[in-house]
């Protein structure tokens, strides 16, 4: 029997029981819809979370003071731990593959300009802050030189602070008072919005050296090292660890690589997506039972036809293939309908609730369709075997 003939014969029986075929296919379609819908939402969340975490760039290594031991939190600036200093940051700048090192600390202070006062977050950063975090300066620029002893009193404003204090005027060159000191405005950041609840626009950014003085902090909260994308992250981490140990005498700091953190996060999210997909898979199982039922009925109804096929020279195997083909056709078409329905509903939900991230990877769609066909195959085996093993004489006698 040639393949096109097999398709023709199985389609003919599919078409002659339209309603029944439709309902059986619907069982599989609902299962596939559930799988596709749930995994689409799972995958959408996955991408949303990863995008949220990786928008500062992925080739960043974060160094914090204090070694994270098996228990206990970050020791920070108290205890016997040596704080991370600006000199530490300078020392790392010359390591291979390192593109920039950004010393970082933050605090709260009152800022005043144009007779208005605002309490806002003060970020003490290096001059490479914007490039390291792939953030953009809207007007002006960051300070160019970095003098740890005598950092100049420059400030870059977040867009919200600029709006509140300098509404309608160009703030560049104006002066701003932070905690009683005068700072000259040299740049304004582009609006960035909230990141994990922190308003990136309601900030003022000053050189880290001045921030330590202003906020009365002995050390940095963290350093962000950005390295060349082509470099091996482990090699960079090794180099940093060695350098800092040399300076501190022991490993009293913690290194977190963005890449490794994202890997862990990503694998956790993968498991979640898979788990919700598996939940949808339960309804696929119900669809499989539907196919099993309908194929069992079909074999019984068409007993005399099976006898005829055998009399006309069909081998047992051919009879089996015909019925398996029908089961697979039912599930394949049901699966396709489910795919369309699942993607449609997912996109519809996204359209109704734009905040709900939705994404259907092609790989999942292909996998879902393949599993639909496989389910048809498995559900069809038992009835098809029964059809193939019928006694032709008995079968022909059945009306």
């Amino acid at each position: 029997m040639l393949f096109p003939d097999l398709v023709k014969l199985t389609t003919s029986s599919f078409l002659s029981y339209r309603m029944r075929s439709f309902l059986t296919g619907l069982g599989i379609a609902i299962g596939i819809t559930a799988v596709i819908l749930l995994t689409s939402i799972g995958e959408g969340l996955h991408q949303f979370v990863l995008a949220e975490f990786s928008q500062f760039g992925t080739n960043i290594i974060i160094i914090q003071p204090g070694k994270t031991q098996t228990h206990g939190g970050n020791v920070g600036v108290i205890g016997s731990v040596r704080p991370l200093s600006l000199d530490d940051a300078d020392a790392l700048r010359h390591l291979p593959y390192v593109e920039s090192v950004n010393p970082s600390l933050m605090g709260n202070a009152e800022v005043r300009a144009n007779g208005k006062t605002r309490r806002t977050t003060v970020l003490g950063e290096g001059r490479d802050f914007a490039t390291a975090f792939t953030m953009k300066v809207q007007s002006g620029s960051f300070w160019q030189d970095e003098d740890n002893e005598q950092a100049r009193a420059f400030v870059v404003l977040g867009s919200k602070v600029r709006q509140e204090l300098f509404a309608g005027e160009n703030p560049l060159g104006s002066y701003l008072r932070i905690g009683g000191q005068r700072y000259r405005v040299i740049g304004v950041m582009e609006p960035k919005g909230q990141i994990l609840g922190f308003d990136m626009d309601d900030v003022v950014i000053i050189p880290a050296a001045r921030a330590m003085e202003l906020l009365n902090r002995p050390g940095l909260i963290e350093m962000q090292v950005s390295y060349r994308a082509s470099a091996d992250v482990n090699a960079v981490i090794r180099a940093i660890t060695e350098r800092l140990k040399e300076r501190h005498g022991r490993e009293d700091f913690t290194i977190i690589s963005q890449e490794q953190a994202l890997d862990v996060l990503s694998s956790v999210l993968d498991v979640i997506t898979f788990a919700v997909g598996a939940l949808g898979g339960i309804s696929l199982l119900v669809g499989a039972v539907g196919i099993l039922t309908i194929m069992t009925m079909a074999v019984t109804e068409r007993t005399s036809e099976i006898g005829l096929l055998r009399a006309l020279g069909a081998q047992e195997r051919q009879v089996m293939i015909l019925f398996l083909g029908e089961a697979m056709l039912l599930s394949a078409l049901g699966g396709l309908a489910g795919l369309a329905l699942g993607v449609g509903i997912a996109q519809g939900l996204h359209w109704l609730f734009p905040a709900l991230p939705v994404h259907t990877p092609v790989f999942f769609a292909v996998l879902a369709e393949c599993s639909a066909v496989a389910i048809g195959l498995v559900a069809g085996v038992m009835p098809a075997r029964r059809a193939a093993q019928m006694d032709p004489v008995e079968a022909l006698r059945t009306e």
Binding site: M1, L2, P4, D5, L9, S12, S13, L15, S16, S304, E305, G307, L308, L309, R310, A311, L312, G313, A314, Q315, E316, R317, Q318, P392, V393, L396, E399
Partner: protein, 226 residues
């Protein structure tokens, strides 16, 4: 052509062995026209099923064209059925959802014959049996006579050496029954071995060789080649 040597067939009914055929010895020559008659339960259908390789003898050997076909496995028997044997049934046994043309094509499809050749054969058969304008009709749109003509066309599509007809006119009225018989008898002229099973002596009387059966045994045979 067909040689039965000491063939028996028994069935187990409950815990009893019931003999449907007892020690049948029978030789049929190629191109012979044979009718097998007898009351129901005489074993004539069982004999037909054995000849058609739909059933296996409990004992004895069956040779077709000199080869011992009772020793073949299922796949080989299916091939022999496909290539050498055609069936015509009382109940027509057409596939209801396929057109007349597709029904005729079915044995060719199962045998894996290429589409081009199938098409020419089917067109010719439709023409021979006066079904050309009925090619796209489904069985429920055909009269009884037309249905049986489709069935005969289907049975001959693989050019079988043996044609087995089990009460082919049983579901037809007198006139169409006669038409169908004429079509079958034309095949004998083309050297097809026609074996007709019937309980109607009038119909069976048309065959040159007549075999009567009773209780699983041949009670009379006017044939020459046995």
């Amino acid at each position: 052509m067909i040689e039965f040597a000491d063939v028996s067939r028994s069935f187990t009914v409950g815990d009893q062995q019931v003999a449907a055929l007892r020690n049948i010895n029978l030789n049929l020559a190629a191109g012979e026209y044979v009718s097998i008659m007898g009351p129901s339960g005489s074993g004539k259908s069982t004999l037909l099923n054995l000849i058609g390789l739909l059933d296996r003898p409990s004992s004895g050997t069956y040779k077709l064209d000199g080869g011992n076909v009772s020793a073949l496995d299922d796949v080989q028997q299916a091939r022999v059925r496909s290539e050498k044997i055609g069936f015509v049934f009382q109940a027509f046994h057409l596939v209801p959802r396929l057109t007349a043309a597709m029904n005729i094509e079915l044995p060719l499809i199962l045998a894996g014959i290429p589409p081009d050749e199938r098409k020419t054969r089917v067109v010719k058969l439709l023409e021979n049996y006066g079904l050309t304008d009925r090619a796209d009709h489904r069985p429920d749109q055909l009269s009884g006579g037309q249905r049986q003509r489709v069935a005969i066309a289907r049975a001959t599509s693989m050019h079988p050496a043996v044609l087995l007809a089990d009460e082919p006119t049983g579901n037809l009225d007198q006139t169409t029954g006669k038409e169908v018989m004429n079509l079958l008898e034309q095949l004998v002229e083309q050297k097809v071995t026609l074996i007709l099973v019937t309980h109607d002596p009038l119909l069976g009387g048309r065959a040159q060789r007549q075999i009567h059966m009773m209780d699983g045994q041949i009670v009379s045979d006017n044939g020459s080649s046995s």
